[in-house]
Symmetry: C2
Subunit: 109 residues, 2 copies
């Protein structure tokens, strides 16, 4: 159990830098963030995270980045989940979330 | 090239029945469609397809179905893509799309 927690924390720390949280800005803002992150060269994977209505913006950003700006990248994995969010008025409700893992392709055929 | 087209057509024909196209209705409409499709019993996989702003509704529907109505189901795969759409005024533009594959779990541990 203790070991599992440690592992999780390590993963979190390791990926924190290359996680881009997608909100309600135009997709190109997040595309720019993806390109910048890849160009830093410290990581060959970038994660786009979004909740609710921003999910479609995250998908747009991933697709634009992959097709036009980081052509040697690919969608390695996509995860969806449900998060329990407490709104300002104290009500709890469920919100869907998505994580899109964009990776640099290992090798060109 | 010709081969690719044929392959695509075959896939389309094979999956047509269990594909649910997600539009702009509330997520519960599509949850109902998912439950109905699984209850028919002819298939242990249902595909939710959506484009543009409807992508988040498709994710909502998949999450609600999986968590509340078809508890022995899981998200087997998620694919995202870009489609070239011609709008009413003849302009071409790109739209992101998603396909969410919901499957009945093979076995309970």
């Amino acid at each position: 159990m203790a070991e599992k927690t440690t592992e999780k924390e390590t993963v979190k720390r390791k990926t924190e830098e290359n996680v881009i949280f997608v909100g309600s800005k135009p997709p190109m803002s997040y595309v720019l963030a993806v390109v910048t992150e890849f160009n830093k060269g410290s990581s060959d994977e970038v994660v786009l995270k979004a909740r609710g209505r921003s999910i479609s913006i995250a998908v747009d950003a991933a697709e634009i980045a992959r097709n036009r700006f980081v052509k040697n990248s690919e969608v390695r994995d996509i995860k969806i989940d449900t998060e329990n969010v407490t709104s300002n008025d104290g009500k709890k409700h469920n919100v869907s979330s998505i994580e899109i893992y964009l990776s640099i392709k290992k090798e060109n055929k």
